[in-house]
Symmetry: C2
Subunit: 268 residues, 2 copies
């Protein structure tokens, strides 16, 4: 959906002509030793070639050859409550934005208000994560990079999100319950311990840590910026370079089938 304006082609023609005519005049002078001839030929060339360059640019503008897209991907942060998903996700999002990439940020806190009746029972959390999986896959399919952060405590729902996406990078923010509880400035753990919440990961239900995430970050020993840098470095090296990853190659064939089944209008 990107296009180049005629004004860009005109400016390129002028810029090219400045350099090219000086080269031509120099060559003519070298061979003939006649300064006036070199200048005359250079001047005539300016007009003839500037027009030619413009039309050459417009012709190439119609050709898609050699115009490539940086493949989109999903960065999925998972970890205990207060393990730093929101902060590190925000930092990664900002860095990707600065690269002029098309990128969307999805945090559980932004998505839940859209489904106000979604609770926190294992079934409801599973449905919530699967919906998020559909959403990130739809964005990714359309060339949008997604930085997602959800506690997503259950392996099965994270596996679903991975299968929906084409290029899924799971980032596990590794920390123990005690450290997260110590970091929790909003008092969620305290409320969970007082029984105001049920099913709180780390308190009432197990957080099922990923077995083979693409990235595992030891959040207790890193600052937010250091952790974000680790993620961005991985993305630049392993994902944005466009070279195939092992994990992607091992992706089960059912992923595409699931996507096609649920979005019949958008398969082609």
């Amino acid at each position: 959906m990107q296009y180049e304006t005629k004004r860009r082609s005109i400016l390129k023609a002028v810029s090219w002509r400045t350099w090219a005519t000086m080269t031509t005049a120099a060559i003519v002078y070298m061979f003939t030793g006649r300064f006036t001839l070199a200048i005359t030929i250079g001047c005539l060339e300016v007009f003839a070639k500037m027009g030619l360059y413009f039309f050459h640019e417009r012709l190439w503008h119609r050709l898609r050859y050699g115009k490539k897209e940086i493949p989109a991907f999903v960065v999925w942060f998972t970890g205990l409550p207060a393990s730093g998903k929101k902060a590190i996700g925000d930092a990664v999002y900002r860095q990707l934005q600065q690269e002029n990439l098309r990128v969307e940020r999805l945090d559980s806190r932004d998505v839940r208000p859209l489904f106000p009746k979604t609770g926190f029972s294992p079934d409801q959390v599973d449905a919530h994560i699967k919906r998020a999986g559909h959403l990130v896959a739809m964005l990714e399919k359309n060339g949008v990079i997604v930085v997602a952060s959800f506690v997503s405590p259950y392996r099965s729902s994270r596996r679903f999100a991975r299968q929906m996406a084409r290029n899924f990078v799971e980032v596990h923010l590794n920390s123990c319950v005690e450290a997260c509880e110590g970091r929790d400035t909003q008092g969620h753990y305290a409320r969970a311990r007082r029984g105001e919440y049920r099913y709180f990961p780390g308190v009432h239900v197990d957080y099922e840590a990923p077995q083979s995430p693409e990235i595992s970050i030891d959040v207790d020993s890193l600052t937010t910026e250091q952790a974000a840098q680790q993620v961005v470095d991985y993305l630049k090296k392993e994902v944005m370079s466009g070279k195939p990853r092992t994990a992607a190659a091992q992706k089960p064939a059912t992923a595409a089938a699931t996507r096609n089944h649920l979005q019949p209008g958008s398969t082609s």
Copy 2:
């Protein structure tokens, strides 16, 4: 997120040189009448300028000047059940796809399975349409054109979707209940009349026709292809050309505020 490969720059350099050197040689011959000199200068130029052209291309590749995006938009089909939303929407989607545009298709039938507990009471339909509004706006914000088709019988929920989007094109498929019932091969109207459905638009609840849609189509007198063509013609003339539309200019200022409020991570 688009980039140009080095191979494209090399091919452009060769293509340009073919035309440009022939021009130079012709000019030199015109002025000197010396055929050999013209050919010699032409040959030397080939090598000097091909390299120059390549580096000139790579330099311009770094400049974003004059590279523009076709603005994304939302085409929202609304109309009674069996008024042709799915078929006409699919036809418009296919035509836009053929233009190499980034386009997503969202039909009510594809979205409802994601929220299996959403019923058809006015409140639930309103919530359903508002969720769809969030979804289309998120896609549009990221440069994706969306072709959406929902009965969306209530004005207030359609207004919400319009306010979420930046560039909203409402297409009303205009037809009476009798004509739609006659077209309904799936027997939905019959089931509604037998009382198997409640809140069926056109039978139990009013379908609130749009008061000022961007496009109103008299579906009873047009084929699916003709109707789709009307929509595509409007889009090309009024939306994809990039010129400001009156409706967009009149958009209430609250639209941006609502979006920012709900997606705090993606405002910039």
